[in-house]
């Protein structure tokens, strides 16, 4: 066969594979959106769910998902940044750090249901936090932390060595060089990575089934005292998230419009994750431009 023919066949195969993947993705998204979009309305997004009647919404679940995300990030970001800075700037290359790196790898590929069970045994029962937002956030931290560490470490490593040396050569201490010179340069990719990780957290269900729980108390959205049991801000109340709600309604939903609600909720979930992804790119670019241009 002539080289040209081979080349043409190879190109054809590769293009076909790409098209196939795109088609699967587009089909999946289209199916979810076509089925779900019809059910999305302001009322659907804000009203509480119904157990046996039709016409329930996903308001509390949506709120729970967002609130849980915020709680998780409050715990994950400082830990992840700290560990990432340590791994890239302070840790010496030796057996111990190689071991830590291995653990981080293993942890990041852990099945989330296992993390959920671990959360149930340790956080919910042993520490007595019960089914609560806090338990959920801690379980999600276990799930999310490895990614956060890796994002920080890689972002810092990709800062040009010249920048770091420029800081050190001015007589600026190592810590200051890291926080004042390297972090600003690494920030756009850290932020992008963090938002992408947030998208993963937002859609997580398995790790939350046994930690944040599968039910939500009646929430009183006028009560903002975080200590009151019906307050949406109370971190010690159980909280069913959107992803968990979809799973529950599909497996044991009693409302007559359960399939529609699941479809609508799925669409909301997918759209939100999509927004996270697009937002991450946009925000990362914006930050990069802001930080590399004059103030």
């Amino acid at each position: 066969m002539k080289a040209k023919t081979v080349d043409r066949i190879a190109t054809g195969v590769i293009v076909a594979i790409a098209v196939l993947i795109l088609a699967v993705l587009a089909g999946l998204l289209g199916y979810l959106l076509v089925r779900g979009l019809r059910h999305i309305s302001f009322d659907f997004l804000t009203s509480p769910p119904q157990t046996i009647k039709a016409g329930g919404g996903i308001g509390p679940q949506l709120f729970n998902s967002l609130f849980l995300l915020v709680l998780t990030m409050i715990i994950t970001i400082p830990l992840g940044l700290g560990a990432g800075i340590y791994m890239s700037e302070y840790a010496k290359e030796n057996r111990f750090t190689a071991f830590v790196r291995l653990i981080v790898e293993v942890l990041s590929s852990f099945p989330s249901i296992v993390i959920g069970l671990f959360g149930l045994l340790v956080i919910v029962n042993r520490f007595g936090l019960g089914f609560s937002l806090l338990s959920g956030a801690l379980a999600l931290t276990v799930f999310n932390l490895p990614m956060m560490v890796r994002i920080t470490e890689q972002s810092l490593r990709s800062v040009p060595r010249e920048q770091k040396e420029a800081g050190l050569a001015l007589g600026i201490s190592r810590w200051r060089t890291i926080t004042q010179v390297m972090l600003p340069v690494a920030l756009p990719s850290i932020v992008t990575g963090t938002i992408l990780a947030a998208g993963r957290v937002f859609g997580e269900a398995a790790a939350l089934l046994f930690t944040a729980g599968m039910s939500s108390p009646r929430l009183d959205f006028t009560d903002w005292n975080p200590l009151s049991p019906t307050s949406p801000l109370n971190p010690l109340r159980p909280a069913e998230t959107l992803a968990v709600h979809i799973w529950k309604i599909n497996s044991e939903g009693l409302a007559p419009d359960a399939p529609e609600i699941a479809a609508g909720a799925s669409a909301v979930l997918v759209i939100t994750v999509l927004l996270f992804n697009l937002g991450a790119r946009w925000f990362g670019r914006l930050l990069y431009r802001k930080l590399t241009a004059s103030k």
């Binding site: 010249e162 040396e165 420029a166 007589g171 004042q180 930080l291 590399t292 004059s294 103030k295």
Partner: protein, 248 residues
Amino acid sequence: MIEIERLQLYYGTFHALKDISLSIPEKRVTAFIGPSGCGKSTLLRTLNRMNDAIDGVRIEGKVEIQGQDIYAPDMEVETLRKRVGMVFQQPNPFPKSIYDNVAYGPRLHGKRKKAELDEIVEKSLRAASLWEEVRDVLKKSAWSLSGGQQQRLCIARALAVEPDILLMDESTSALDPISTNKIEELTRELSRNYTIVMVTHNMHQAARISDRTVFFLNGQVIEAADTETLFSNPADRRTEDYISGRFG
């Protein structure tokens, strides 16, 4: 000014600098020349302890700056590096405005008043002969400058923390001939107030602008002499071979 006494440097098991003794005069330009991998950059980086951060580096011997042992346990690297500024091979301004680049060091060393910073910025940019070109665009990103301007900005940034010594690590090798020329002139001028130690691949550059030249080979100092003497009448056969282009 700088006295190096029986300095040994190892990278792991590799003996990179072998028994180096050298004195570097004040307010003169001293050039380190020699083929790649001869240890000239490594020696330059021992003068502001930039090798400290590299894993597996071990140093023996003594380096004294104005009588002070810079590897003594009570020596703070930050203090040392304030006195010994450095300009690198690649221009490496921070991704900030021109003004902020120069004000960066003084700010982090505790100078806060705007008037004072303004003065330092102007003085440093003037000393780096960049002021006339950038006085109206101080708020613009440093990355918008040309390579040669960026390198002069890096010199200004180093001068802003008021060092006595300036180390230049092949600081013109990434620049075009015109920018190179400017930096060379600037180097001559700065040597009136600063002690300058430069590493260069370019023998002609060393001949043009340095007062003293040190020739390195395989981690050893082969010859150190006044530039004119070294180039016109080298004492060592190997120096002669190198400067007449027989190797390296």
